[in-house]
Symmetry: C2
Subunit: 466 residues, 2 copies
Amino acid sequence: MLFKLKNSESRILLIILSVIFASSSIIYAQKYDYKHIADSVLNYSLSERAGYKWLRELCNIGPRLSGTDNYQKATDWAVQKFTEIGCDSVWLQTVKVPFWVRGEKESAEIVSPEKAAGRKLSIASLGGSIGTNGILKAKVIEVSNFDDVKNLSPSEAKGKILFFNEPFDQSEPTTFRSYGKAVRQRGNGAIEAAKLGGVAALVRSVTSKPDNVPHVGMMRYADSVMQVPAAAIGVEDADYLSSLLKSNPDVEVSIEMDCSPMGEADSYNIIAQVNGSEFPDEVIVVGGHFDSWDKGHGAHDDGAPCIQTMEVLHQIKVLNLKPKRTIRCVLFANEESGLRGAVEYGKYAETAKEKHYAAIESDRGVFTPRGFNIDADSMVIAEMQAWLPYLNKLKIDWIRKGSSGADISRIKNTKALIGYVPDDQRYFDFHHSANDVYQSVNAREMQYGTAAITLLAYLISQEGLK
Amino acid sequence: MLFKLKNSESRILLIILSVIFASSSIIYAQKYDYKHIADSVLNYSLSERAGYKWLRELCNIGPRLSGTDNYQKATDWAVQKFTEIGCDSVWLQTVKVPFWVRGEKESAEIVSPEKAAGRKLSIASLGGSIGTNGILKAKVIEVSNFDDVKNLSPSEAKGKILFFNEPFDQSEPTTFRSYGKAVRQRGNGAIEAAKLGGVAALVRSVTSKPDNVPHVGMMRYADSVMQVPAAAIGVEDADYLSSLLKSNPDVEVSIEMDCSPMGEADSYNIIAQVNGSEFPDEVIVVGGHFDSWDKGHGAHDDGAPCIQTMEVLHQIKVLNLKPKRTIRCVLFANEESGLRGAVEYGKYAETAKEKHYAAIESDRGVFTPRGFNIDADSMVIAEMQAWLPYLNKLKIDWIRKGSSGADISRIKNTKALIGYVPDDQRYFDFHHSANDVYQSVNAREMQYGTAAITLLAYLISQEGLK
């Protein structure tokens, strides 16, 4: 017969065919597995809600301002959690952080005109600010756009409270851009005020929510410029003050704040990992910053996102996913007032014997997933985009080049730095304020994100990157 | 010269080249325009927030139960709004709707065991239910999964209140599927209770939010089965009742409700349009249902989505978009308790001289956009998918085959029926309850959706569909 093969030939053919079928079945099995794993991860996330339950525990501790007892209690809680998860190792990296105390006094009210005298204003000291050293009374001058401060002369501003009232630009498609524009007045308002001889900076809260809750955050001083106190004011009161100034330019306000920078304190990066089965020295970092501001619970910023990355390790263990590469969760100290945790971890990463393969940061709240921003070569991004059919199920609709995150930015020579991007429309309603509490987090939105981050970390671990 | 052309030839070549350049520049201009229009629509949506302002006015009227004075007031408000927008025509289509009155009495409490006696239960009569005709006192039997009702015998259920306690399945990826499973007990609980000789149905609220607010909605009776009263119970109290039953199977509850179906009333579909400039007889419908349940404001369901489609006409006018095809907004009467508005509009559409070209429904709340579900030929869907580069800016990440919507389902022979799909994670936190108020709507999320629906309606109007 024309096609009759010798025994040896048929054996070779059989082997070739076996290899072809075996490898195609491996490919099939892998693809099948990821679909299946995506389903398992999502199902576990939504039905067990482990992270959402942990969030209640974390929020019960209270806010986690850098260097405080609360941060220490939260550190102990996280270490306990990682231990319960069954991580292969859990350790702390010491980080010196700036320590600032809000104090007891934090109030402001209208002094004149008479018709408004005694009206309280909703304010909160900005992080890093000095106090007022008793009651500070002064006239107010409004700067409605931060760029306009250049047009003010010292004769107009001297001895006054500079009231920076640039609104959050709601016409921007992304709220992060609106924030980026308006936050300059919070960061630099005190410096610009002092340069003009002003005695304090009162800064419109940088928020998308038109309520009267002050939204705090870091402010800066410059070495060569006198230090003056700075406070955030609620949006409703900022609008009120602005309208009062329109009818009466001699509005006088009193402010009392006894906050104070208090040097440095010890804090920690909290680190835990599940070792890789094939490439244990190739490390995929997942994490967020564990410190927060002291109004609210620091739920969206950044407690719940940290917990999403803690739950990556939990799901890896509980779903028995056996990653080829090591997956390490890093809860960074002190993002809010100095990025010191990120800097220290970056130094460690540079000299560590293990290779930092990739890193995923979650620091945009825990709303429904949209995508991942990637800092990497376009080839690597394309490779990750090929995983979208699996990630789509977890509401990841895109993967694209973009800014990843502040805390992982100090980890050098990875194949990819990745920022998890949930929906951003509501983030600045809560950010840095008493609105950012446990109750503001939706369990389903949070747990969808957990599933998405878990699957991406796992895909990188199993498939690798070019 | 080899390439020298005669004058006549060169003129022809010039004409040919001009035509080629002209048509390619038209194509370029069109594409450029849609990008530009997407930007304009989004910018206008986010900065002006017209619809969000209208929502406050609409919610101030109160809920819009079918056939009530409030629905009539809201109708007047919408007609006024369409007139101010400058629509080419505004008209009402009369619709007979079922009229049901909640009444004054609506309460329940534990009668026994003694340790729990007098404890109030948070309940609300279900839409369409009869009252209890005084105080109804009876023992309670729990049905923890609606399918289990088949396993109950009349001897177990006779004379009892059937307590349907199937939870909202949080493990489902889409909340609409969880709702679809659990809502059977609300729709059919009273029928199944009566079949077994039960005296009432007490139904766990079909909601994703574990609070104690009752979530109402329509229930049904069957012609051949006795009518018994039916009420929703808050999730916390449902859990409480269930745990009480575990320790004491003889729990007795009293219920008092004086709600009553009251025949029919006149209501209206509210219709307004901007005429097409080239194909005025080809109509693209946008709309939602204008009636609501009577707890809360009916903000997400379906006031704000209706307003999104009203704002389509507003933006068409204010941005001077000049649609080729007619764009018509239809605010449907009575989706909640009978779909009568949709049925009547469907009858009208069948005999109308104009052609119903396409329809877009918004009835899934006003959360951040995700995509559009399309009922159409796959060729048409592919055609619309080619517009995704414009729609992506408005957070439309996908266009796919899927269920469009109840109200437009009665419009026959269109090229496409389209359902707007915003994020669904939080919808059933609010749905049919006192949680569904103006304050539960985020302006940015709502206005993003408005922009997406406006652009899609405009693209269909200008580009047409195969």
